[in-house]
Amino acid sequence: MNKVFKNADDAIKDIQDGAVIMIGGFGLCGIPENCLTALVKKRTKNLTCVSNNAGVDDFGIGLLLKGRQVKKMVASYVGENAEFERQLLNGELEVELIPQGTLATRCMAAGYGMPAIFTPAGVGTEVAKGKESRVFNGKEYLLEYAIDAGFAFVKAWKGDKLGNLIYKETARNFNPLMAMGGKITIAEVEELVEPGELDPNQVHTPGIYVHRIFQGSHYEKRIEQRTVRPKKS
């Protein structure tokens, strides 16, 4: 079975209005740029996006927001985005905020076939409202359900044609977790290689979690907060 697609347009062509999509990346780091751009071009509407962040005004998921393609955003932090704020305050956009570690673990739970997990995050706060809680060894935990979705977009550094993925540095972040939650996981990679070219000992996401893969292009890799120290002279 061939998992290799020509490009992002080809890989996402069956995504319909109303789809739920899990999207890897943290801030603008490690986001699936090609898939997002293709989805903007495709003008698919009423999307639910599950992603730690919502991009910035003119990059990442921000582009989907600009095109009014997103109905609901499930995220942990959505700052840095004026258009987001406008749509939210106007009631055009629904938002569900989830603590970052809870979000990460709920996505992972889907990939581990665990229907729910326990986490102390949010106990005693408004996040706990309406949720079941339980005490283990004197500490209170919330029961939180696994998150999966029809599609997941992830970005890796290297991948092989069987879908095995290796991420680079902190661009790993949510990518392996979103990959595990997708019923159809679409991976874009900076370098697509033949099976056997990746060291099987170093694979981060085994190909069984990846259904489509393509060689991405034109990565911008925008930096959100450029912080530097002076050059040593």
Binding site: Y77, E85, Q100, G101, V123, T125, K231
Partner: protein
């Protein structure tokens, strides 16, 4: 005289012990990294997925694939490790991180913390703050003693939406070092030249003062 944010960071750095794994939040907590005492090794954790965070890169050497939880470009130190965000919060939840330093808008006498939401203002989300405060075994809050209006941020009860409950162990402010002890604020140290009276007047919650209160040492 009240100390500045650099001195707050410097005072907090004295809480570090050799071998500690530490998570530093955005703002003043980040500055703590600049004051790690000589002779001890501390490993910085960044909750997006890194142990062994180093300083900012030299100009021109920024790597977009290498950022911290504040989305700033950073470097790694020898012996660092990358992992996904679930394992990152997993090690926090499992109590493997020895110390977490966070900013706060309010802290209550029983150690509740509010630092993510102001009703009526745009809600940006809690990010990893709720996970950190619910999971960390030792939490120090770095903050100003009062808000810009001059109102105390150390309260009998938080008025803002909570980030977590009964979790803060210590507060280092521009005026004092305070411990949460038996659901009260216990004064441990004063900023140099700041009187107990001033601290008391700027602490809305119950302040325990036992014996002589020494000045902070740096």
């Amino acid at each position: 005289m009240a100390i500045d944010k650099y001195q707050i960071a410097q005072r907090i750095a004295k809480e570090l012990k050799d071998g500690y794994y530490v998570n530093l939040g955005i703002g003043i907590p980040t500055l703590v990294a600049n004051y790690i005492p000589g002779g001890i090794n501390v490993t910085l954790q960044s909750e997006n997925g890194l142990l062994g965070m180093g300083p900012f890169p030299e100009e021109g050497r920024e790597d977009p694939d290498l950022i911290n939880a504040g989305k700033q470009t950073i470097t790694t130190l020898p012996g660092s490790a990358f992992f996904d965000s679930a394992l990152s919060f997993g090690m926090i939840r499992a109590g493997k991180v020895d110390l977490t330093v966070l900013g706060a808008m309010e802290v209550s006498e029983r150690g509740d913390i509010a630092n993510w939401k102001i009703p009526g203002k745009m809600v940006k989300g809690m990010g990893g703050a709720m996970d950190l405060v619910a999971s960390a075994k030792n939490i120090i809050v770095a903050m100003m003693h009062t808000n810009p209006k001059g109102e105390s941020k150390l309260l009998p009860e938080c008025s803002l939406p909570l980030t977590g409950i009964k979790c803060v162990k210590k507060i280092v402010s521009d005026l004092a070092v305070i411990e949460i002890f038996n659901n009260r604020f216990k004064l441990l140290e004063r900023a140099p030249g700041v009187s107990v009276e001033e601290i008391k007047s700027k602490t809305a919650g119950t302040l325990m003062v036992e014996g002589d209160i020494p000045e902070m040492q740096f």
